[in-house]
């Protein structure tokens, strides 16, 4: 069902946790679908220095959350905004068809966290 990469990220998720003084926090999800993903960012000089996640959800939800944190570390905000859910799924060697729409939301959570960071900067 799941690729080895998905199972690896599920079994050994990278960057689980919170950042108490986060530059931005983003959350997406729908309790009906059974997935909630929250991403914490620490941004310095427009570069993502640290990222953590917390996820309630299925194997795909956990793995995509973990994968997106790996993909985003060290990237600039603009680079990070270019990461799509599709790209995350590809980096995991794909997801089962049923999971593509339901649990593949980690990039959305990331974008929300960036939005939150921008709002805080502006506000």
């Amino acid at each position: 069902m799941y690729s080895e990469k998905v199972m690896d990220h599920f079994q050994n998720p990278r960057n689980v946790g919170e950042i108490t003084d986060a530059s931005g926090v983003g959350e997406v999800g729908n309790p009906t679908c059974g997935d909630i993903m929250r991403i914490y960012l620490k941004v310095e000089d427009n570069v993502i220095k640290e990222v953590k996640f917390k996820t309630f959800g299925c194997g795909a939800a956990v793995a995509t959350s973990s994968m997106v944190t790996e993909m985003v570390i060290g990237k600039t905000i603009d680079e990070a905004l270019k990461i799509t859910n599709q790209a995350v799924a590809e980096a995991l060697d794909g997801l089962p068809p049923a999971k593509m729409h339901c649990s593949n939301l980690a990039a959305d959570a990331l974008h929300k966290a960036i939005e939150d960071y921008k709002n805080k900067l502006a506000g």
Partner: protein, 398 residues
Amino acid sequence: MGRIYMDHSATTPVDADIAQAMVKFMTEDFGNPSSIHSFGRDVKKAVEEAREKVAKAIGADAREIIFTSGGTESDNAAIIGVATANCKKGSHIITSTIEHHAVLDTCHHLEKNGFKVTYLPVDEYGMVKAEDVAKAITDDTILITIMHANNEVGTIQPIAEIGRLAKEKGIYFHVDAVQTIGKIPVNVDELGVDLLSVSSHKIYGPKGVGCLYIRKGTRWTPITFGGAQERKRRAGTENTASIVGLGMAMEKAVANLEQEVTKLTKLRDKLINGITANIDHIQLNGHPTFRLPNNVNFSFHFIEGESLLLSLDMKGIAASSGSACTSGSLDPSHVLLAMGISHEVAHGSLRLTLGKMNTEEEVNYVLEVLPEIVERLRQMSPLYDQNYQPKKECCQHV
């Protein structure tokens, strides 16, 4: 420790002696029972012996049994067969919200074809009330179909009581007994049922075969078209080897019932007590006492069922869940929702269903690993955050 299988309500392994007997009926006694030559006669005899065994196991007459391709076909045939045969008499069917999809989807299909269906609610334990059935009956009611025990939460329904009601009113009564054969006594007269569905692969028999009991005199019409097999009630060359397997499985299921129940109940209660003692924020789903002896179903708050299953699987434990993400649908188990459980909690359900090969050692191992897994997933979950609760309404935009 080898892999541990605790998903016996999903399916069971075939007993080795049954599989071996089936090999004989595939390779040697392979004839078509409709043939008049010796190859056909030999296997015809075996099929009729299997029918006797099945009938005896549920207190029926052999002529009241037809073999089908499984529990789903039995449910379909029972409901559509009675509805079609009795449509001049009425068009109302009573069922419950916690039936298996083989019943529910058949009812939905009939609704599209002009029948009216009442889906009775259940209480918090997943129990249908006989008085609700009584209230739902109208002059137009032709069929009541209620499962003997629920496959997800194990709640045993008041079938005998409903059976008496149905008989009083002269309404046909179908019972899906797929989960109860071999776990609690099933006798068609004591339960007062007119039709009863059985599936072989839940009782250590082969997949792809089941049977339907149809009480003598029941107005019923076949739903398959073709050959004159099964006394014109089910078309298609008989699945002889599997029918022999089902016969053996039924005989064993009933012969070993008491000792099985004792054993399963002990393991079940050890699991329930162990989980309750060692893990917080949980709830037992299903009835505490009117419960299948092999069913354990808990919700673990703040976590999601599929990741729980995957984590258990990585530890060699096979279980199942009412999580939506295990079924490819958007909603979690319709059974848990019908019991009034919230989506969130329903997503975090775990079903462990025991079987005859499970040991106390295995139960101990599950009790050892489960708390760690639950804790690990909770640590990852934003819902477990103490501060999360009040912020709940903000979950779309932090």
